[in-house]
Subunit: 221 residues, 2 copies
DNA sequence: GTCTATATCGCGATAGAC
DNA sequence: GTCTATCGCGATATAGAC
């Protein structure tokens, strides 16, 4: 995804080619998630999908484009789960509490796929290089995430008693940074970090917790 | 630095070897900062330092150990600037405001070396892999940073009026995560993010700003 | 359109001459 | 302490068989 939306029609593909492509994407997702990007070769992915590495390169121009298609597929799934507004502009918007619940749910879900979290962590760092093949993809990804989190924070602020001040865009940036940074700490020490607790605690201390949610216990450091 | 402190005496080296070593470390720091770890070869570094890659490997057993020495040198410098207690146990501890000022100063200083910040961002993500050569280095690094930030937060909490509740270790973890995550966003869009403002704002909204500091303007999103 | 086989490149690392 | 020569490896690109 070098360009924000896909305005062009993808080239027509045969049903067999389509299935092979999907098989390759599945294999790539699994292997990338397990071992990261650099540690996995095209030969590994091709073997896992049941063909040779040159056969794979018939379907994807190179390792980079394969990576970006893997990421795009995953992001589209996640975005629909938390922010239905992205893909279905007319759909009914859930309330702030429900959206917060979904966001935390996404964090919890991430905790079950450390391989993919690690892949995103590595790539979002690598892709800060303007020459990286996924640079534009990640710039766009962060822009969209920031926008959606800003809307969420706005809704939480409006629903908070007493009303919370502050620029929602600033809080959204901080929230996004917090989630990213916690992933690194969690990957380093999976048993010492409960990401969703630390995210919830952060919002709580800003007065943006669930409208009537009474958080019982403490938070593990 | 595979082990926490260095309890062993380094092998004696000739003055010439020492100079060559330093030249190699300088070159490695510059090239790693510019292009990252994987994108730079030992041949690149050796050429920049004025020898061949085999000559370089006489001074460092491998690319990994070279990397870790580059990181260690930088970290030692930074730690002394902000947390004099680490290297000089008996030295007088500065007050909470002064330590906060130094921490923010470190963030500002980082803003002037995007290459090194990018290197750390890439490596701390890569090194989450338990098999990565710098894995233990980064686990130890985060442990120390967390401890020092916990002490800082404790001091800020004690100095705050009214006193701020909460587990300092939790806040320290969140602060560390925030700083890490902001680096990624800043590297992606250098002109759109002022890291020190967002860090200061975060502490401010937790009631942990400088004791008498009146923040004038707003914060850019 | 789909895939295999082959060739080339640059990498980290080692051995041994000087 | 530094070099040349060389190894095995993985990523990538191309030619052409089916």
């Amino acid at each position: 995804m070098s360009e924000p939306p896909e305005s062009e029609t993808p080239p027509p593909r045969s049903p067999k080619g389509e299935r092979t492509r999907a098989r390759i994407l599945d294999s790539a997702t699994e292997l990338f998630s397990r071992s990261g990007f650099h540690a996995v070769s095209l030969r590994d992915i091709a073997a896992h999908a049941g063909l040779t590495h040159a056969g794979l390169l018939h379907h994807f121009p190179g390792k980079d484009s394969l990576l970006i298609e893997v990421l795009g597929r995953r992001d589209r799934t996640d975005a629909q789960a938390v922010f239905p507004g992205i893909t279905h502009p007319g759909a009914p918007e859930p309330g702030p509490d429900e959206r917060l619940r979904r966001l935390v749910g996404l964090v919890v879900r991430n905790s079950r796929t450390p391989g993919l979290v690690a892949l995103y962590a590595k790539l979002s760092a690598e892709a800060t290089d303007p020459g990286h093949p996924a640079h534009h993809y990640f710039r766009e990804r962060y822009r969209v995430l920031r926008e959606e989190l800003t809307v969420l924070v706005e809704a939480l602020q409006a629903a908070s008693r007493p009303p919370v001040q502050g620029d929602p865009a600033v809080t959204a940036r901080q929230l996004l940074a917090l989630m990213d940074g916690l992933q690194t700490q969690w990957l380093l020490e999976p048993d010492a970090v409960v990401m969703e607790d630390l995210v919830t605690d952060f919002l709580h201390r800003l007065g943006l917790g669930p409208a009537a949610g009474a958080e019982g216990g403490g938070v593990s450091p």
